[in-house]
């Protein structure tokens, strides 16, 4: 089981967690992550642009990779696009599994991917100036640990 959504509207983390399937009560662990827009360095807003068909395919592909790698019962991913301000929710990853280690690792793997490789581009607004976020070497490092 899995669900991947890309949307401009906000989501309800509680509802997403509640929607995670637990099989026939086989789940012993649910791990969820909610990413927020961080307001440091005077960030006023961030606009996420995406390539809809490509992003959905890429994220779904990584969810399938996670399900091959760890024994997961369910995975839910929600990623927002559009203009977001500090404090707003931007991404949700939730996984359910029989045991916690698989759930923690799978959620972390998916977040590292979403943060660094998923086809979203981020335009930051600070003090009236707009700037596209550039590639960072550090992001590549966080993905490499899964290879």
């Amino acid at each position: 089981m899995s669900s991947v959504r890309i949307q401009s509207e906000d989501f309800d983390p509680g509802a997403e967690m509640a929607a995670l399937k637990n099989g026939q009560n086989e789940a012993g662990a649910v791990v969820s992550f909610v990413g927020l827009v961080r307001g440091d360095d005077g960030l006023n807003a961030m606009t996420l642009e995406h390539y809809a068909k490509f992003a959905l395919r890429e994220i779904t592909d990584h969810v399938e990779q996670a399900k091959t790698r760890w024994p997961l019962l369910d995975v839910r991913v929600v990623h927002r696009t559009g203009r977001l301000t500090p404090g707003e929710r931007i991404v949700f990853v939730g996984v359910s599994s029989a045991h916690r280690q698989a759930a923690f690792e799978a959620a972390s793997f998916l977040m590292d991917y979403l943060k660094t490789r998923a086809p979203f581009w981020k335009l930051e607004e600070r003090a009236g100036e707009e700037r596209w976020v550039e590639e960072r070497a550090r992001d590549d490092e966080s993905v490499k640990r899964w290879h």
């Binding site: 990413g35 927020l36 827009v37 961080r38 960030l43 961030m46 642009e49 995406h50 390539y51 068909k53 490509f54 395919r57 931007i90 991404v91 943060k115 660094t116 490789r117 998923a118 086809p119 979203f120 581009w121 981020k122 335009l123 930051e124 596209w132 976020v133 550039e134 590639e135 960072r136 550090r138 992001d139």
Partner: protein
């Protein structure tokens, strides 16, 4: 073919998508880049430094030596990034 542009590539060119029919001798992404680059100042700026660009043909990441065909959907964009979350 259908061309899609994202982020600053879109801003420099001034549109997010367009239909384009290159001459028959354009067979690879790199050849397409060179043709597009010659189309005007916005294109020249966007495609001047191909190392700053990534390309997807029919929603799959490809290298610049990948083949292109008349019915393809070809997207140009900057490398995807981290940032706030």
């Amino acid at each position: 073919m259908k061309l899609l542009y994202f982020a600053w590539v879109r801003q420099k060119i001034g549109c997010s998508e367009e239909d384009f029919t290159p001459s028959a001798d354009v067979k690879t992404v790199m050849q397409l880049i060179n043709v597009l680059r010659a189309r005007g100042s916005g294109y020249e700026e966007a495609f001047r430094d191909p190392a700053r660009l990534r390309c997807a043909v029919n929603q799959s990441h490809v290298g610049f030596d990948a083949p292109v065909n008349a019915t393809d959907e070809i997207a140009f964009f900057p490398p995807v990034t981290g940032g706030h979350a």
